[in-house]
């Protein structure tokens, strides 16, 4: 018999026990807020962006062990990545980085992927806004 029987891989349990980057970022550049339609859980992801690179990420999650571990993993993976690179992180990649998830828990990693996408989209929306605001400002300056 094995010594320890566990639903999850050691890696999942390690992230579950010591989740990285728990919390919120003040004045974030992007926020993703998603709910899991399968079981009703919630994940929030905050990112800080500098020169198109994600420099910080934090999360808050209401959900199972897999949801907490994938949240923790996504914040680790995304740091230092460009916006384009971040958009390429898939739920499979997250699950793989955690040495796999039980099949029934794959939907929790989808939640993490979606939280990331929605945070990045929020950033892009805001930055466009900032950009156009800046342009407007320039325009009005000229007319003065």
């Amino acid at each position: 018999m094995r010594d320890v029987w566990s639903l999850y891989s050691e890696k999942v349990m390690e992230h579950f026990k010591n989740p990285r980057n728990v919390g919120e970022i003040e004045n974030p550049d992007g926020v993703g807020h998603v709910g899991n339609p399968v079981c009703g859980d919630i994940m929030e992801l905050y990112i800080k962006v500098k020169d198109s690179t994600i420099v910080d990420a934090k999360f808050k999650t209401f959900g199972c062990g897999a949801a907490i571990a994938t949240s923790s993993m996504v914040t680790e993976m995304v740091k230092g990545k460009s916006i384009d690179e971040a958009l390429e992180i898939s739920n499979r990649a997250l699950a793989e980085a955690l040495d796999g998830l039980p099949p029934i828990k794959m939907h929790c990693s989808v939640l993490a992927e979606e939280a990331l996408k929605s945070a990045v989209e929020d950033y892009l929306r805001k930055s466009k806004h900032v950009l156009s605001e800046a342009k407007e400002k320039k325009g009005s300056n000229k007319s003065e």
Binding site: M13, D41, I42, T61, F62, G63, I104
Partner: protein, 388 residues
Amino acid sequence: MRRIYLDHAATTPTQPEVVKAMLPYFTNAFGNPSSIHSYGQEAKGAIEEARDKVAALIGAPSEEIVFTSGGTEADNFALKGVAFANEGKGNHIITTSIEHHAVIETCKFLERRGFRVTYLPVDAYGLVAPDDVRKAITDKTILISVMHASNEVGTIEPITEIGKIAGEASVYFHTDAVQTVGHIPVNVDDLGVDLLSLSAHKLYGPKGVGVLYIRKGTWLVPFMHGGDQERRRRAGTDNVPAIVGFGKAAELAQKDLSKEAERLTSLRDELIKGLLERIDHIHLNGHPTIRLPNNVNVSVDFVEGESMLLNLDLEGICASTGSACSSSSLEPSHVLLALGLSPEQAHGSLRFTLGRENTEEGIECVLEVLPRVVAKLRAMSPLLKSHR
């Protein structure tokens, strides 16, 4: 690491005395009770002795005890057996919305076969109103099935009152007593039931054996067809060692039933009180007093059950939850929803079910560990903020 097992509603450890009683029936006394020779008769004697002991535990005559493979089979047997034998009389069955899956799924199966099933609601404590049962009876009603006590929230149903109503209406009455037999006094005549399901492994017996009590004169079709075992009501070579184990477990349960119930009730209340005191935004599920001596079920706001369970398990505490995340269907417990809990509250539910090995020390350990676990998870909960 020391482990504290608080999931006795799921299963209980087989008592050493029970195992000891079973062992000879694997080896020396291995006979088939249907055989005429001495090996067979030795085994036959053993199962009849076990039958007497189980019968004594529920105040029934031995002939009305039928051994099955467990509680699920007993439930299936009762419902399908009565339904298919009484189709000519009617096609209506009354049950409740908080039954065990073994009853609910069997009812759904019967619905697909043309039967009509009424699922009665329960109040916020999980209690069924006897009057609702009375009102639901029609001239087509052939069976009423109401569980004796909820395996999830521990609420004990008014079976005696419902039994009277069923008796007056001459409708067969079944109760799933898997969680009560061996834990609180159960007497088939006092309860007024025609059929009653029980399971050995919930009362410190082995897995794989149960009983359906069938009152004499109850009309139902056999569950298994084959040999003549169990007075032709349940064919198949008898699981002799398990049946002997069940008998021993029943005997032991009867011995100190009231003392153990009292001991567990006081541990239960200590745990409930301690949890309500030490954790804010926590609610007791089920009835505060009309509940099983060993059941504590709470909902903790803003946190999810599986993540609480995993954290408790890391500290050696083994409990259970009705959270959607931990169910294979990813749906919250139908029982908690029937009590009127929101899906979020069901999400944060935790069930501790106490047993023989548990002591004051184990309770104190939970009271020390759980507040820490909840604080840790709340710190990462996005729900808490929106609440504030």
